[in-house]
Symmetry: C2
Subunit: 215 residues, 2 copies
Amino acid sequence: MRLRNKPWAKELIAQHPELIQVQPSHFHPNFEKAQPLRLEIGTGKGQFIYTMAQQHPNMNFIALEMQESALAVLLKQQVATPLPNLQLLVANADHLVDLFSDDQVSEIYLNFSDPWPKTRHEKRRLTYASFLTQYRRILTPTGVLQLKTDNRHFFEYSLMSMNHFGMHFAELSLDLHHDTTAWAMTNVTTEYEDKFAAKGQPIYGVRATFESPLD
Amino acid sequence: MRLRNKPWAKELIAQHPELIQVQPSHFHPNFEKAQPLRLEIGTGKGQFIYTMAQQHPNMNFIALEMQESALAVLLKQQVATPLPNLQLLVANADHLVDLFSDDQVSEIYLNFSDPWPKTRHEKRRLTYASFLTQYRRILTPTGVLQLKTDNRHFFEYSLMSMNHFGMHFAELSLDLHHDTTAWAMTNVTTEYEDKFAAKGQPIYGVRATFESPLD
């Protein structure tokens, strides 16, 4: 998602180092409590992660997004109604293993990531093997990678990539909004997801781990 | 698929032991040539397998179906216009390892199999682990299991089951009839598939192997 540049974004960000970190070499937690950490990669304007943080006060959440002008929208909300278990992070997903320590994260969310449809851009897809390698490092051994998308080819690609990486599918839905599973019933949507689902198109989703429960 | 009983079926079957075997303890090939063997499980009336056998004279095909009255429709066609590389087999898929030798089959087709939606019937689904165990035995090491279905929950289940079994996805489509891959462009349809796709609903498909190409 590309947003118009917001002239006020830089200043707001500079005023709130307690809420948002900009391209640090390592992420230094600034949460009220030490509790399990969940990370969204590509937060956009933040409807999903803000709602998740509201609903789960017993967990900490990080909203990672490389576009300052998108994340500044969430920052505004967080300044107005701060949640002590939500931190914002302007960073590129290429360097997750520098930003986070091994086993630091219990769940990673990829929501409607850029599908990068051209084959020559495969390496940029957030489910390309090099990204999975990073997720495996920063996730706890039983940690979950959760992905939602409306893009059929990106979902097909992601299932293949996870399968080839040896990941274990814990849940899989080809129409999450018409399921009655616990995941579907508690699904927190993104702004984009609301718009897209209103057209009646399916939302695809998968939850997968790097170790099978039997290992 | 349930068909009305056909009074002529039993007699026609009895007249053509050279074309059809009924619940043998082991399948004894009766092909003109020794060449790679492909097996459809749940043939129904046989549009798919007959067309495949026509298109691939350099391979042998077996149409396996437990309902005599369905397979008798294919038998009629095979009597009228015989293909030397097609054999019919009335049998239950529960005993594949008795019917076939290890490594005898190079490709298995599951087309629009009964989804058995109730959880208590999971063991009857043709992608339940006990069936995958049999497929692995009778397939060659690089052999392929190809599945097509219109049933979302059966497809979700099958992907999970194959993934948990350690199978490797070679191809995956969530809308095979709108793809432009080699598989999609050469896809041979079943009777049911034609009717279903005409409604504009997606056909799901996966091709998977028991060994990854990297093993």
